[in-house]
């Protein structure tokens, strides 16, 4: 091992010793990001360390402007940090070229957005098929798999409906199926329930939780809604570009104060 040790020591410190043998599917090390908006400098992230274990359901909580989305974009390989590094499945995303990054997005990461972002003109089936087609799967195989996934999210009877013909909750369930299409290592859900009412939102979270175990994926979700935290194994509180605390599921209910050692 080389200089990585120093870089990691900070991040590793937050995890207990038994985690040593667990592979982290996401690791963000000292991630900083600064935006320049019309002469004004905005520090979106000020050195964030975060490790997510395989199979975990981690929620990132924070008010808007806390750097939540920025952190998400970094982890999703949609944006690159100014400083620090982000590893997805132990691969440094900053070292990837455009083709590898596209492959990573296609195969390793499933995205779920607040605004669903289905291709509006395509059917539910086509939307779920799309990432598999981009991955090079044959149309027939992709369709079979897409039908299976849509049945899993309870939309077996809506296969050919266009997204405009679906309700918000149904659209988000299509998005869940689409995110799972290429058996990703991680699903990134940025405010997945932000545009849904409570009941529909909970339904989507429940489906996510159920499919997480079935498909062995890790789920990282951003939210500012306390009601959506029930499924989380850990909750990371982000404020002003820094992690202020990290709570485990057991600590959520009784609300013991800070346990995180970040800064």
């Amino acid at each position: 091992m080389n200089s990585n040790h120093d870089a990691n020591s900070n991040a590793a410190a937050q995890d207990s010793a038994c985690d040593l043998l667990t592979v982290h599917v996401v690791r963000a090390i000292g991630v900083r990001k600064t935006y320049h908006l019309g002469g004004e400098t905005v520090h979106a992230l000020r050195g964030v360390h975060l490790s997510v274990k395989r199979g975990e359901y981690v929620s990132i909580m924070g008010p808007s402007g806390s750097g939540k989305s920025t952190l998400f974009n970094m982890i999703g390989g949609l944006d690159k940090p100014d400083e620090g590094r982000v590893f997805i499945d132990e691969v440094d995303i900053a070292a990837l070229d455009a083709f590898e990054l596209a492959w990573l997005r296609c195969h390793k990461i499933g995205y779920i957005f607040q605004t669903f972002n289905l291709i509006p003109v395509a059917s539910a089936l086509d939307n779920v098929t799309m990432p598999m087609v981009l991955a090079g799967m044959s149309q027939a195989d992709a369709q079979d798999k897409a039908v299976g996934l849509l049945k899993k999210v309870g939309l077996g009877d809506r296969l050919l409906h266009k997204s405009v013909e679906l309700s918000g909750g149904q659209q988000q369930r299509v998005a869940v199926a689409r995110a799972l299409a290429n058996d990703p290592a991680i699903i990134l859900a940025d405010e997945p329930t932000g545009n849904l009412d409570l009941k529909t939102g909970e339904e989507v979270i429940r489906i996510l939780e159920k499919l997480k175990d079935e498909y062995h994926v890790t789920i990282l979700t951003a939210t500012h809604d306390h009601k959506m935290l029930a499924a989380s194994d850990r909750v990371v509180y982000l404020s002003d570009g820094q992690i202020t605390s990290i709570k485990n599921r057991s600590e959520l209910d009784i609300k013991i104060g800070h346990i995180g050692k970040e800064h």
């Binding site: 667990t22 199979g55 691969v91 083709f99 087609v133 981009l134």
Partner: protein
């Protein structure tokens, strides 16, 4: 790729990837619940046939906009084809037509205008303007189309679409419109030119048709039409492809 150690997730080239385990310890595969690890690969290009299908679907659902672009191309190309064809007809008749007709043409001054530099320059200016208007129309429509689809493009990129696919889709879309518009435009232009010839020169216009010259002008028009549409779509397509997915997602319209 890392052939010797297929179980590691590190890229062979990614020297900086930290390894959480000592060199001697076995890779903790047992502890991994997920699918078997694989090394990072390069994203493949989508088969052309598939890209055509997607582009065709995009056109179908935005038919009104497509027709607008297409009609612009039709107008410009019809004008170009008409000018070229009527010129070719007149020249051909002047050289090969019946003597009586040539005499009439000379008396009416048609032959003189045929070779008059000023008239010709004027005509070409008009043709140029028509093409320019059509070009701007395509550019505008395609830019709007890109703006309208910001989040769709961003989503496609998040799902693993390469920049080249985005360019391909936009170019294919305009090429469809270009081919249809050019074909119809040339057809209309030729019909108009022949109809005019019939009125001006009578049935002689039909009897001595300069096939070679017409084939040539059809070829020129086809090149101009397709070139025009692709030129109009290049910048919008490039803009769409260069857009960062994160920006594309952020935009709310």
């Amino acid at each position: 790729m890392n052939d010797q150690q297929p179980e590691t997730r590190n890229r062979s080239a990614g020297s900086g990837s930290p390894e959480a385990f000592g060199n001697g310890s076995p890779p903790p595969l047992i502890l991994r619940g997920g699918p078997s690890p694989e090394a990072i690969q390069k994203q493949i290009r989508l088969p052309f046939r598939k890209a055509v299908q997607i582009a065709w679907r995009n056109i179908r659902v935005r038919l009104a906009r497509s027709l607008l672009v297409t009609s612009g191309i039709i107008l410009a190309l019809a004008f170009l084809a008409y000018i070229l064809c009527s010129d070719a007809l007149a020249r051909h008749l002047a050289a090969n037509g019946p003597a009586a007709l040539i005499e009439t043409l000379r008396r009416e001054g048609t032959l003189a205008t045929l070779n008059d530099a000023d008239t010709r320059t004027q005509t070409w200016w008009l043709v140029g303007l028509a093409l320019l208007v059509s070009f701007v129309g395509i550019l505008n429509a395609m830019l709007m189309s890109v703006t309208e689809r910001f989040s769709e493009i961003g989503t496609m990129k998040c799902l693993g679409a390469l920049d080249s696919l985005i360019v391909e889709l936009f170019l294919l879309e305009t090429t469809f419109q270009g081919v249809v518009g050019t074909t119809i435009g040339i057809g209309i232009g030729l019909v108009l030119a022949f109809a005019e010839g019939l009125i001006l020169y009578g049935s002689a216009a039909w009897r001595v048709v300069p096939l070679g010259a017409i084939a040539q002008l059809v070829g020129i028009c086809a090149l101009v039409g397709i070139g025009l549409t692709i030129a109009g779509a290049l910048y919008p397509a490039w803009r769409a492809a260069k857009m960062q997915p994160v920006d594309a997602m952020r935009t709310e319209i």
